[in-house]
Assembly symmetry: D3
């Protein structure tokens, strides 16, 4: 349990009268779709503390509707500067140089550097892994898994000596199914000993579920925010909820909330390129205060921020499981 | 023709400049999605006069996105108090105790009590029937029909000695077809002598149609408001219109409007959990004035109110059939 | 337990070396597709003992591929004479006179006459019920249920004072789902108190199941042969198996075989208008010997016969459940 | 190159801070859905200079959701007066008198009169051609092509002696594919020598593409605005971009922008009867100033206006191809 | 009415006991799938009298499952010699040189030469037209229509001065719909004045219909054999029937048989690459005797022959319409 | 290049007049569907030389239509004895003990033991790996990959120090897509460095392709027999062909035949539980003579044998690529 304090975590107190476990930032969305000239939309975004400020890897779909990853920095985690052009990746094997598309990144500090995982287009969507030491130079390692896969999320430390990753096997389209699995690796390149973690249930998570931000280590277990999808007669609705995974056997689910924690209610969540999407990809956590800030994509169009208290989330999980 | 006056019917005059047969209440939606702490949305709702005020059974989807029926009361039919927890049903047969889901209720005063019909989950959606004398205790009778069925609506009196119900046979998903049928019963438990009433036509009602509020008895026939669905490239659009059924042979359609009367135009109808839905489940009628107030769900998210005059609806039907 | 002996039941001993519970008649198919000039195919067929010979109602699709029911007689239950034209039905209500199609009949002796149930086209497939005293004059009663339904099968006596029918709710196409339900009636016209009987399971019965012949009353329970459907990449495969239902609570399944009893293996079962179909619609039973003869449609093209011993079927059920 | 100046072209300068090639009119939408009493929506609309003002043919879906074409006039191209009833067409062959539906018109001045092309319902959607000299009397010529086709757009002059039309072959539903082809005719009645022009590509135009307004003749080639469709998990998104076609071999694409020029971003584009649609059907061009005004349908509900400069579009094409 | 006698028409008398209007040749199939070394299958085949023998254009799918057209000759119309390699086409426009695929040919003597029509792959299936004078050199003219179209069949003479062609608009896959339309041309290159001829009906022709062989001119009208498709739960079933079209207004249907004339019943029709297909593409006719020989593809694998008498077909049409 | 001679390879000379590269055994099928009492079908089967005879792992679907793997032995490779009950697997982790289903095995001698790979049901189909030293005791190792995957085939030796496996990522149903990928492992448990090998092409392999038997090492490269699927209007057709992969860079395709080598032509290939399937899972090879015997499943029902000469296959590949 060695997570660092994060006193500069972005934060806003729960609004008066609000009884929700998670509440939205009052100035959402924090990143508009046109923050940079090239972008059509900026949404599922991965943010980490970096030096005394924040850095991130952002999904920026351009006006061709190409899906790309762009770098960004922020002093306060709320106001962001993003590069107008995508990240260029170094790679050892030229066969891997053709990134057909890149989307839905996660970033995690793991041992000695920042690892980035994302949905990488290599003859179909799969999980690409790369890293950076400084957010200046980025190196592509390998595709961890075979297509078709999405929502690959690394744990922030080895567990029982192995690297661990969550992912959601899928098909080559708008997959109408999806469960969360876990894979283990000695070297971040070869993966195996796969285990089923959790699948769909009724209601808001009846079509598919997928890991969201990098799990947060707590005394009780790994806190996982995850998205769930319901299929209405007019398409998918993406909400998100939470579960607690066993610290040592992380494919064991200890608690899992049966209600969603946040679902598309506001205008910026309900309308946009894909109506009715709230999709978390990153969180910040300040252990001394228990504050958690969650970055989530809205309607596949803009990026927003929501807040909660760790203790309240854990209470929710125990009472709503 | 023995319908009681309803002087306290909620009402607002047609706005200046409006030429529509049906007009919206200016303070719509009257029930927000979060009226009660547990709710994700409160929409397709059944209201009746009760003593000197109004009572209702409301579809309240909670934050698990479970579909439930909650009780509510109102003094003016506009401002509502709802229970935070669903109605508990008494039942004789424990095999029927597992309500997988309950949605889209209708309530009707029939002979000596209030009957509630709704889409009941019993190995698939079918039509559950229950009753209450006092909106305190609710008893579940039986599922009137086999799955897969939705939109079961009772007539407010026996016709030729039999109870009569409209319904819309469907499949086990987001049914892409649907016509209105009528069934008859000596005892509200066994149903037969089914007849076809009316099916889809072009335009706004080209995918499926289903009965809305309990039919209103008029000298000319039974006035039925019903919903119709059009399938655009981006999903279903639910509008509603009207038809007049024969008083004695209620599966005979006398008139049927070819235009819709109300279709999703406002923000609260066009965006929400299911964009572009206006779905009526209840109406109030004051014979002396001809006033009709219609409760309808909006975007499967909130509940709204619209108004019309009986005579104008009948004129619309004769001129637009 | 008052079933009559049937000494003239068609019969052929189990072939040497055969270890199956059910074996095919060596001269299958017994009814070729072109037995009568008008027919394209003659398959799902309902046979009963009648006087000292056998009578039946046969699905005869003609060369328009209209689906109809034709009458037939046989002295030995194997060699059949069928009318070239469909049965004409008397009916009380002219609204019911338009039989869009009629298929998959069952015939049962019930109290004082022969009842016929079939899939009847009335704005969609539903369960028509008619009767005959003499196989000369046939009277149509009513559609027992709303569309969309198929495989309506009556029990051969009242149970606890009520008529009882199995059916399989479906949709309006080649339904990819289907479970067996039970409905009850005081008068064969109004039906209610519906109960779920049994649904799909893995393997041969993973897509849908439906009742086959009229259940056979035994000391242990009602013996039900039923079809099950598996969906391969090249379409449906119809096999059939057996279950035993409680005598007094006939929606309770006592035993249910996990293996099929007969599946398409022969040329006349594997090729034809619908490859890979074996579909039982009738059985004959001789209590003194325990002999059962099953009539089943093959590839939606011809009619065949298979044999088994009641005791062996019951043993199969107890050992394979 | 003999296009007339159009000094009264509707125009509004690019807003300060806007870097887009195309910008929206600040008072969009210019035609509300209820401009005329009969309409549900008024959107994909064809406008031409007419005498000293503007005339147009407008898609007006009425409250039956019938699709029709209505005539309109405007003094400034922004404020419009539309007939409440659809255009009546003269026709020579009574077999062609049953217009099942009419939608998505284009109007072009060609030689001596105004030709109208539209998607015409004749046993499926195809391309109807008619003409008017005066916007008073309209004559239907013939269906140029067989069903199923949409988005038929005539060039404003003969090319190498032949009339030339673009179209997008489709199927009989919400076609999930679609490329642009060209056909040639000696007489506007018989069409042949069909050539493939351009198909789908990635991103915003990955599902289908179709010609928009009548091509604008420039020194460099025919400037074609065209729509492209992306399929998200929640349906189609219609954006539009541009291409330049060879003046003499107009099925040769010289340049084609890889980014869209306008995509649904505003409320009136993102919500309505079909969310996320921007669909251009007409443009006006003033050669002396290079000003182009584009009329486009929004969310299949209202009509809007956008502006650009020819030279900037051409520069975009050369730099973004 | 100037059709030539064809005394060498292949012929075999109706088998004893057969009451069908059309009967099969006893040595079917006449062309096995492996007649030539390169072929996977040889089926939908177009045969014409040529000099004192017979020539034909045959669909030969090779072992890549490429679809091609090969030339063949026969002395008796039964025993055939086919080229192992596909026909090479001359063409004027190199843009048309890329035949993506070619299948389902028809051949007709028209004025001064043999015209071949077929389903031609040009950015989708459409109707290619070519010609030959001598079955030695073949010239490709143009694609008559836009994609997506199949089953283009020319009439054997001009009608009212115009060339006339039947076709069946379709989509880009295994089209689940399809009606027959007629188009007219002054030059076999430009086509227009399209008219609807006939659509699907129930039973054997409920999914789609398409013209078969070149229509035979009779005193009563044009005799058209056409295929119809029924969709079972295990796929398409292709049968064929007949209709009579007006001599001068050939899109007017005078008679249309409601029964099929031939449907897959034999092993070589029910099994093969596509089970349950009988698909006629050519017929021979001897006016003095009224004999007609029909060539039809079986299971998309082999080619067979069937026979009938003109007078009996006409009688069938009058009695079965 | 150290493959052992296999003088007892099953063999039958090419029939007179046959010009095919691969020819069928004259007594096919060698294993009937009912070889053992429990089986519904025995088809996709993996055979290896074992001691002085042959052993194998066979897909035996039982009469529940459960999919299982059974062991078998044969003296001549043609006549087989199979266990009636499935193989029991030892396993270290009880979480992996629930084999939902097991099918389509391959067996390979690798270093010191026989490895078995198969499609293993672990929350979806994936690639299970196990091993046996003696065909008496079988040990389950792990699932090599995440669901959804099928057709996992190990190379018979390490390449550049790593174990290598081909597989075909898929979805959770009758996958309508599928390409062959390669994965590498240091330990047969963790897999990575995935590379795309080859995808679909036109004709017989237009829907999906998958590796068949264990690749055969030759001087020119790895000879891979693989299946390809074409989708007709009546379902999938499984043929098989061949490719040659680079010895050291085995995801590089040197040659790939454009024609199939064997496709369903015989009755036992065209009819059965899944019509039109030929699916190779094993081959035997005798280097001194170049003889290859291929075991392939037929119609998902029975097992057959085909023969070829290595040199002729290589010549085919060079001339047909």
């Amino acid at each position: 349990m060695s997570q660092s304090p994060l006193p500069n975590i972005p934060w806003e107190a729960r609004p008066a009268g609000c009884a929700e476990v998670i509440w939205r930032y009052s100035a959402n969305p924090i990143i508009p779709r046109d923050l940079i000239p090239s972008s059509n939309s900026i949404f599922n975004s991965a943010v980490v503390p970096f030096q005394d400020r924040f850095a991130g890897v952002f999904r920026c779909d351009n006006k061709k509707r190409d899906m790309n990853l762009n770098r960004g920095f922020s002093n306060d985690g709320i106001s962001w500067h993003l590069d107008d052009q995508p990240i260029e990746w170094d790679y050892a094997d030229p066969e891997l140089s053709n990134f057909q598309y890149r989307y839905d990144p996660r970033v995690v500090w793991l041992e000695d550097r920042y690892y980035v995982t994302w949905c990488n287009g290599y003859h179909g969507p799969t999980i690409g892994i790369g890293y950076t030491y400084d957010f200046e130079r980025f190196t592509f390692l390998e595709n961890a898994l075979l297509p078709f896969n999405r929502n690959g999320v690394l744990f922030p430390r080895r567990i029982n000596g192995e690297y661990v990753m969550l992912s959601r096997p899928s098909d080559n389209g708008h997959t109408p199914f999806g469960d969360i699995y876990l894979s283990r690796s000695p070297d971040l390149v070869h993966w195996g000993r796969h285990r089923f973690v959790m699948g769909t249930r009724g209601g808001w998570e009846s079509t598919k579920v997928g890991a969201g931000p990098v799990p947060i280590e707590t005394d009780e277990g790994w806190l996982l925010f995850y998205h769930g999808v319901l299929t209405s007669c007019n398409g998918f609705v993406y909400s998100f909820g939470a579960a607690l995974l066993d610290l040592e056997v992380p494919w064991k689910v200890i608690w899992r909330g049966s209600s969603y924690l946040l679902s598309p209610h506001t205008g910026y969540e309900c309308t946009g390129d894909v109506p009715n999407v709230t999709f978390p990809c990153a969180s910040l956590y300040d252990p001394p205060t228990g504050r958690i800030a969650i970055y989530y994509g809205c309607a596949d169009t803009v990026t927003s921020l929501a807040f909660c208290q760790l203790q309240e989330v854990l209470e929710f999980l125990t009472s709503d499981s």
